[in-house]
């Protein structure tokens, strides 16, 4: 079945009813996505499906046909959130972290603390008490805006260059 995985077109053979979580971990070798409950309660398995945070343990593989899936590996360790989770104590044991970061990546830019709380309400963390996570999200949102502005500027130059050619 064809779908986009972390920006690349892929073709993966797996039963349509297999959980996306298992397809990612077992068939695609992407073990960054974690299982904490298998029943949609903990959010450790959060990935982005067409940009929306979903619990991959509840998504049958058949549903991703032709769609775009982004996992923690897709952020390539370079997303401002990843850095901020390290420096602000957003991760302790780290098991909730990939899901937490994916859920945080789906938050609106400049989210208020209340929006962050609601947006992350489906992601359990038993270690941090969430305070470090809020600090990390806040920090990343600050630096993320700058980074986004940089990429936009770069993309802009590319387009102009292409147009010039």
């Amino acid at each position: 079945m064809r779908f986009r995985l972390n920006g690349k077109q892929v073709d993966v053979r797996a039963p349509a009813m297999k959980r996306l979580l298992d397809v990612l971990r077992e068939d695609c070798g992407l073990t960054g996505t974690k299982e904490g409950c298998g029943e949609g309660e903990c959010g450790a398995c959060t990935v982005l499906l067409d940009g929306q945070a979903v619990n991959s343990c509840l998504v049958p593989f058949g549903q991703v046909r032709g769609r775009s899936v982004k996992t923690i590996e897709g952020l390539r360790g370079r997303h401002p959130l990843q850095d901020a989770f390290i420096t602000e104590g957003g991760a302790q044991c780290g098991i909730c972290t990939p899901g937490m970061i994916m859920a945080a990546a789906a938050l609106p830019p400049n989210a208020t603390l209340d929006q962050v709380r609601v947006g992350l309400a489906g992601n359990l963390c038993r270690c941090t008490g969430y305070m470090g996570i809020y600090r990390a999200v806040k920090k990343a949102q600050g630096s993320g805006l700058k980074a986004q502005a940089r990429t936009r500027a770069k993309a802009g130059t590319n387009r102009t260059q292409k147009a010039a050619r």
């Binding site: 904490g36 903990c42 044991c93 470090g132």
Partner: protein, 673 residues
């Protein structure tokens, strides 16, 4: 690789009549107790728990049979028919005649103390089980070798697992290798239980001669693994009209579950902390932990102290209510000070901070004024003063005789310890201690993987001991290495003199003595002190209590890494919020009826209030750079602070969790006479 599965009892108590694999047995590896090469026990304190049940089962979800198969689907759907002869289970700890351990603490003259009292306040306090909810469930992979086995697992105490495997497999230590995999949370839940998971995986691996992966799903993890001990605590206190405690008489009953596990040690910490951080010349604490036909309870952050200090602090609040006294004043008057003696007669040192944390918490939250202003509103404010002894109790550390090693490398040093980092950041803090002491940059210090084949036994990763005790050993290693190096850089030294590894073993810091027969003396090297203030809001329609804000003032000797220290306090506080308000293990006929995250509610972002952390530092003479143990302290006081805030709203609550049902049925707090 094969997948493993555990077949468990479906009754709480009885005899096994027959066991039959009714599915097609092709491709299955099947193991029962007869395949155990060594002794059929999970070696810990008492060897009372079988690795696999033989003829009788003593609790629901007790392991009986193990299966492994290449195909996970076939494994999960395989059917095993177990026939039992059930017998009447013992579920009420109050009626249990089987006592695993009892402990008595005596200080002074109880009768004389009560005779001097103007008021006597009595009460019973109850707390239930609590589930760890580490987000990564228990799991190991066992790889068989030639008459040997290697285990990779999510675990806190590699050497506990190794010992259990040695006994169960009848193999010498060098043939049993235990490697800690990155561990997704532990909180005590991976202290003793992984020995069982590892034992099962090893049996399957040795029989099939293939690697076996045994990972619990959430439901199995919740139903089968250990929980925090439920407790019933009865307290009787004598107090003068002015508020001085003259006598404290406490009875502690813990429900241990079907096997002993670590219950005696949990009880020990529980009774030692049972008076709370208060001075009183006349004390009696009687504790016992008993057997019931329920899954065994075990280690969980706080280890007995949260249960007894919940009772102590709610009781203190009731004393203040009875006397019509300001609860802060009552605590100030009785708080332990340097030079005072604890219930076991330990004379407290200069780093005793009960008053300091109390005053700071009260000042920061403007406690007295805000409490007055809230009267008659839907907001309540409460506090709890508490303490926690770090390291093993009594002579535990001396008996453990832990070791830590430091190996010189080209750039600096490599740490060799068995401490498992499961999120607390011990690798970081250990490396900081070594870098600072050795005088090299932090980046020049590596931390070896926790692997029994290469690291010494630094004792278990428990009891808030990893920074204070193991970190202390590393500090000594690094200091000696620095002396050995003299003016040479590590590289120069290696070139001239070759490799060095320095190993240090625990030595009791002073003449600290604890008498386990009389329960007197220095129970811990030192204590960390804390005061939590909780603000809650109550919904008069749903009876829900919403935590609004918690201020946690904690004196921890020295915060070696303030960010990680704050993380421990915030995380421990959030777990305490769950214990106080949400987390209820519903036991039905001896088994957990709500073994799902859907109906066992660990706090989400929406349930967790704002937490303000205030760290105070009064260095402990024998801790590395003055550090005391920190991991457990933050948990101990949250539930009583919240309960006392609920009492401030007028509800006489004495049991956890404070669910709407409990609030609805709570009698009103009685006004002072």
């Amino acid at each position: 690789m094969l997948h493993g599965r555990t077949i468990r009892s479906t009754i709480p108590c009885g005899r096994i009549r027959s066991i039959n694999l009714t599915s097609d047995p092709a491709g299955f590896t099947v193991v029962d107790y007869r395949s155990i090469p060594g002794r059929n026990v999970v070696a810990l304190i008492a060897d009372d728990q079988p690795c696999l049940a033989e003829r009788v089962v003593r609790h629901y979800a007790e392991p009986i049979l193990l299966l492994a198969h290449e195909d996970r689907e076939r494994l999960i759907t395989a059917e095993v028919d177990v026939q039992y002869e059930p017998s009447e289970p013992l579920l009420d700890p109050l009626r249990s005649p089987n006592v695993f351990k009892s402990i008595a603490i005596h200080k002074g003259d109880l009768e004389a103390g009560f005779a001097r009292a103007d008021e006597i306040v009595e009460g019973e306090y109850r707390v239930g089980h609590q589930e760890h909810v580490y987000i990564e469930t228990n799991g190991v992979i066992a790889v068989p070798g030639d008459g040997a086995v290697t285990v990779y697992g999510s675990l806190q105490c590699p050497y506990y697992v190794q010992k259990a495997l040695r006994v169960m497999l009848g193999l010498p230590a060098e043939r049993v290798r235990v490697v800690q995999a990155e561990t997704g949370g532990g909180f005590g839940g991976k202290e003793e239980y992984p020995s069982i998971v590892a034992a099962h995986a090893c049996l399957l691996a040795l029989k099939s001669q293939r690697p076996v992966k045994l990972i619990y799903d959430r439901a199995e993890d919740m139903v089968a693994t250990t929980k925090r001990h439920p407790a019933i605590i009865r307290t009787r206190t004598g107090v003068t009209r002015e508020g001085r405690l003259t006598a404290i008489d406490i009875d502690v009953l813990l429900d241990g579950g079907a096997y002993m596990t670590l219950s005696p040690v949990v009880l020990s910490r529980g009774v030692i902390h049972a008076t709370g951080p208060y001075r009183c010349d006349n004390v009696r604490v009687n504790g016992r932990v008993v057997m019931t036909n329920t899954p065994p309870n075990g280690a969980f952050r706080g280890f007995g102290a949260p249960q007894t200090q919940f009772a102590a602090e709610v009781h203190m609040e009731r004393i203040a209510e009875r006397l019509g006294m300001d609860p802060v004043r009552l605590r100030e008057m009785n708080a332990l000070r340097a030079g005072d003696t604890t219930a076991t007669g330990q004379v407290l040192g200069r780093d005793t901070s009960a008053l300091a944390v109390l005053r700071e918490a009260v000042a920061r939250t403007d406690f007295k004024r805000r409490r007055r202003e809230m009267r008659g509103t839907r907001r309540g404010l409460g506090l709890a003063l508490f303490f926690h002894g770090a390291g093993f109790t009594g002579s535990g550390e001396v008996r453990l005789a832990s070791k830590a090693s430091l190996e010189l490398t080209e750039r600096g040093a490599r740490i060799l310890v068995a401490s498992a980092d499961m999120g607390q950041g011990s690798r970081t803090v250990h490396a900081q201690i070594v870098a600072e002491t050795l005088g090299v940059p932090y980046e020049a210090v590596e931390v070896a993987r926790v692997d029994t084949a290469s690291v010494p036994d630094s004792g278990p990763t428990v009891a808030s001991r990893t920074t204070m005790i193991v970190g202390g050993l590393l500090e000594r290693c690094a200091a000696e290495m620095r002396r050995t190096l003299g003016r040479l850089t590590p590289r120069e030294y290696l070139k001239r003199h070759g490799p060095i590894v320095i190993t240090k073993q625990y030595e009791a810091p002073t003449t600290a003595v604890f008498d386990e027969d009389t329960y007197t003396g220095d129970a811990y090297g030192t204590y960390a002190w804390a005061c939590d203030v909780a603000e809650v809001e109550y919904d008069p329609v749903t009876y829900e209590i919403r935590p609004v804000h918690i201020t946690a003032v904690q004196e921890i000797g020295r915060a070696l890494n303030p960010m990680l220290a704050a993380g421990q306090i915030e995380g421990g506080t959030a777990q305490g919020v769950g214990y106080a308000l949400l987390e209820e293990v519903v036991m039905r006929d001896g088994h957990m009826a709500n073994a799902q995250l859907t109906n066992y509610a660990a706090p989400t972002t929406m349930d967790t209030p704002r937490i303000d952390v205030v760290i105070q530092e009064r260095p402990y003479r024998h801790g590395p750079f003055g550090a005391k143990g920190l991991g457990e302290l933050p948990f101990d006081g949250v539930a009583p602070a919240i309960a006392n805030a609920v009492r401030h709203l007028g509800f006489d609550v004495r049991a956890l969790p404070l669910t709407p049902e409990r609030i609805m049925n709570a009698p009103p707090v009685r006004k002072p006479k």
